[in-house]
């Protein structure tokens, strides 16, 4: 990416996509709230992100960070009380001549977009598959709904889709309950690919599976992606998995993106304290044993988010200045890669980690950045 999301001006809807010529999905300034009696919950707050053709973007964050809401909002899958309050989502694929604005689409336009252009693999394959239809009927159902295709051709294609995801054709007549968890998830992937979509959204597709099966399925996904050339938005809370799988990783917290960078950059030079915390949260199987710190505390109440950085109460580097910081993603100053952006202007990859677990709700002053604010904060 030559220009990073914030510097790119929000282009008029009819113009070409700003950031990069092969961008297939451009999310600008997207905000989603949940209307509740207790006030609006700001689930997604002014998020900018681009997905390029053939790219794998990993969205990482805890439950409630808004990662699913962001993606479902961008594909217009949310219902009330969810409400998109601002932003634009533009889609440009092989089959689309002009970029289209997803958020202003009419129902019949949306219907042509869904599945044909943007398909989704849901987390819980048991709930997402219809228990009273066999695998073949479900696959054919999708094709009839979204493609102009004859009966025999659809049957043949259903069989070849199962080949594609590594399930034997004998399983065409199986019902979901007759399949193992891994096979169900493969069927879900086959269904998503039935219409040759441009973008496949994967919402925690392997979370319920064993590590061995998970690895098989991820390998399958990557292989299919290479072969068919679709882009992937991969949602998970498991950052370790994204480091291996994704081209770029976007870290989300309290409805905002805190850091975006290539997997290498995020792994080697995580800049935002939250990313550092996430990386220091899971035990590694290889390499020397290291001290794990985790992230004490819990996310803020999004009905009334505190001003400034949402991570401040849990941050080991926090200063008084953090209450006024605006959450724009800016390039990491020490990084060679301009696409590596962070929302924290104070902490750099080199900033040393504080020893031990910092006390929650008692942020310690960071010596290098704002030494004079330490007293203010303590008072």
């Amino acid at each position: 990416m030559s220009a990073h999301p914030d510097q790119a001006p929000v282009a008029p809807v009819a113009g070409p996509l700003a950031a990069r010529p092969d961008t297939v999905l451009e999310i600008r300034d997207l905000s989603v709230v949940y209307r509740t009696p207790g006030g609006d919950v700001r689930a997604v707050d002014k998020v900018n992100i681009d997905l390029a053709a053939g790219e794998v973007i990993g969205l990482a964050g805890e439950s409630g960070s808004g990662k699913s809401t962001l993606v479902y909002g961008a594909s217009r899958l949310l219902r009330a009380p969810a409400l998109i309050t601002s932003g634009s989502v533009r889609y440009a694929g092989r089959r689309v001549t002009e970029p289209v604005d997803v958020l202003t689409m009419k129902p019949d336009e949306l219907r042509r977009l869904r599945w044909r252009e943007i398909a989704i693999v849901f987390q819980s394959a048991m709930n997402a598959l219809n228990p009273v239809l066999n695998v073949r009927d479900q696959l054919i159902d999708v094709m009839h709904a979204h493609l102009r295709i004859g009966r025999d051709e659809a049957r043949e294609r259903a069989a070849s889709l199962l080949d594609l995801v590594g399930i034997s054709r004998e399983r065409l007549r199986s019902y979901p309950h007759e399949l193992s968890g891994g096979m169900r998830q493969r069927v879900m992937i086959a269904m998503a690919l039935a219409t040759d979509p441009e973008i496949v959204i994967m919402d925690e597709p392997t979370t319920a599976l064993d590590v061995v099966v998970q690895r098989d399925i991820l390998a399958q996904i990557v292989e299919l992606k290479e072969r068919l050339g679709f882009s992937i938005l991969f949602i998970t809370h498991d950052l370790s998995l994204l480091l291996e799988l994704a081209d770029r990783i976007a870290v989300m917290y309290a409805g905002q993106l805190l850091e975006i960078g290539t997997a290498e950059e995020i792994h080697r030079e995580p800049s935002h304290p939250y990313t550092k915390g996430l990386l220091n949260s899971f035990p590694s199987l290889r390499g020397p044993r290291r001290e794990l710190a985790g992230i004490p505390g819990s996310p803020p109440d999004l009905r009334d988010p505190p001003p400034g950085c949402p991570f401040l109460p849990r941050c080991g580097y926090g200063t008084a200045a953090c209450r006024e910081v605006d959450m724009d993603l800016l390039p990491v100053t020490s990084s060679q890669d301009p696409s590596h952006v962070t929302a924290c202007p104070f902490v750099l990859p080199q900033t040393p980690a504080l020893p031990g677990i910092p006390e929650p709700a008692m942020p310690q002053a960071q010596q290098e950045t704002e030494p004079e604010t330490a007293e203010e904060l303590g008072a």
């Binding site: 053939g54 794998v56 805890e62 439950s63 590594g166 193992s180 968890g181 891994g182 064993d210 590590v211 061995v212 099966v213 998970q214 690895r215 098989d216 991820l218 390998a219 399958q220 990557v222 292989e223 992606k225 290479e226 809370h237 498991d238 950052l239 370790s240 998995l241 480091l243 291996e244 799988l245 081209d247 997997a263 290498e264 792994h267 915390g277 996430l278 990386l279 949260s281 899971f282 035990p283 590694s284 199987l285 290889r286 390499g287 044993r289 794990l292 710190a293 985790g294 992230i295 004490p296 819990s298």
Partner: protein, 373 residues
């Protein structure tokens, strides 16, 4: 088999006295007219006060069934469970309650293991009254429990219902409920799997803190072998109802001997391995045909009655006729390590070659084993 395992010293033994022992424990389930599922097969291990033993395996490997057997929630098909050196025999309700006040369990899902119509206070008062007798001050005990699991201020949480708590807070209530009985053994069945990554570590360190404070003998069941590396003293790897490898946590995870353990370790996400098998830049053709040495994915055989051979043999790259015909017992690799494989000389040559002074090479150990059977 039993002689073999007794020759093996648990890596957890140094931590404290023996609290609980499972000796050749088996559990069969009838799943049809003439079908039996051998959920747990001839499993032996010890739990020591103040030590963590991790039971690692994929779903369906029998690790939860093993825990339920120890918890007295399932009847043994064969074998013996000992508590403080005495055979456990639960004859009536009184026995069961006394047993439960020593052996407590924490479940995976904090959303379904708490009663939605009762407050936190109720969840904790009940076990305190039941297990600690009439002469304790219930409210003081409950407050102390809340402090132990760091749910403070206690007053604020005691009146809450489960749906008002986050996943981590609910799991803390589950821990407090288990501690209310003042147990010596805590069986934790995937205690952090349902929680967010950022909270998991906090919960594990809480569990570790409780273990130290109360000298708990902890059985930690997980499918995440990486967390077992950090958290446990000894790791037992289960596959299709059998323990296929056991040993000190660091050794088992860093130098796995059994082909299944090797597959488990290789499958775990590895952030340090950027540009690995999964990255799109490299060409990759699925786990099963990368090389001959890589064990394949696929379903485990959950052992019907006819299964005679090694349970892992259908997926094992080293399997031969011997493996299909005969199930290997645990073969001792070192004083604290063992693995059940006929081909350890191929699977882990560096481990076998390491102690020629033992007198037992791989081959003699296994033939010795055959004689025992």
């Amino acid at each position: 088999m039993s002689e073999q395992t007794q020759a093996l010293t648990s890596a957890a033994a140094a931590r404290g006295p023996l609290a609980m022992a499972a000796v050749s424990v088996s559990k069969d389930f009838r799943i049809g007219r003439h079908q039996t599922l051998h959920a747990v097969r001839d499993v032996s291990f010890n739990l020591y006060r103040g030590a963590v033993v991790a039971l690692v395996g994929e779903s369906g490997s029998g690790k939860s069934t093993a825990a339920r057997l120890l918890a007295g929630q399932e009847r043994l098909t064969s074998g013996v469970i000992q508590l403080d050196g005495k055979r456990v025999e639960v004859a009536g309700r009184g026995d069961f309650r006394r047993y439960k006040s020593q052996v407590q369990m924490v479940f995976q899902d904090p959303f379904s293991s708490l009663n939605p119509v009762h407050t936190v206070r109720y969840h904790l008062q009940r076990p305190v009254k039941l297990h600690q007798g009439k002469d304790v001050h219930v409210d003081t005990e409950v407050a102390a429990l809340m402090e132990q699991v760091r749910l403070t201020p206690a007053k604020q949480f005691l009146a809450k219902y489960p749906h008002e708590l986050s996943g981590g807070q609910r799991q803390r209530v589950s821990f407090a409920r288990a501690l209310a009985a003042k147990p010596s053994v805590l069986l934790a069945d995937e205690p952090v799997s349902m929680l967010d990554v950022s909270i998991r570590l906090e919960m594990l360190s809480l569990l570790d803190d409780l273990r130290q404070r109360f000298k708990l003998a902890l059985l930690y069941i997980t499918h995440d072998i990486a967390s077992a590396r950090y958290f446990a003293d000894e790791v037992l790897v289960m596959y299709a109802g059998e323990i296929v490898e056991r040993g000190p946590a660091e050794e088992v995870t860093q130098q796995p001997a059994h082909p299944y353990t090797q597959l488990l370790v290789a499958s775990a996400p590895d952030p340090d391995n950027l540009g690995s098998t999964l990255r799109s830049t490299t060409h990759r053709t699925g786990a099963r045909d990368t090389s001959g040495r890589q064990a394949s994915g696929g379903a485990q055989k959950t052992g019907d009655a006819a299964a005679a051979g090694c349970p892992f043999s259908p997926r094992c790259p080293l399997a031969d006729d011997h493996c299909f015909a005969e199930d290997p017992a645990l073969i001792q690799i070192s004083a604290t390590r063992g693995a059940a494989c006929w081909h350890l000389d191929q699977a882990a040559p560096e481990l076998i070659g390491r102690q020629p002074d033992n007198g037992h090479t791989n081959l003699t150990a296994s033939s010795h084993n055959e004689n025992l059977n």
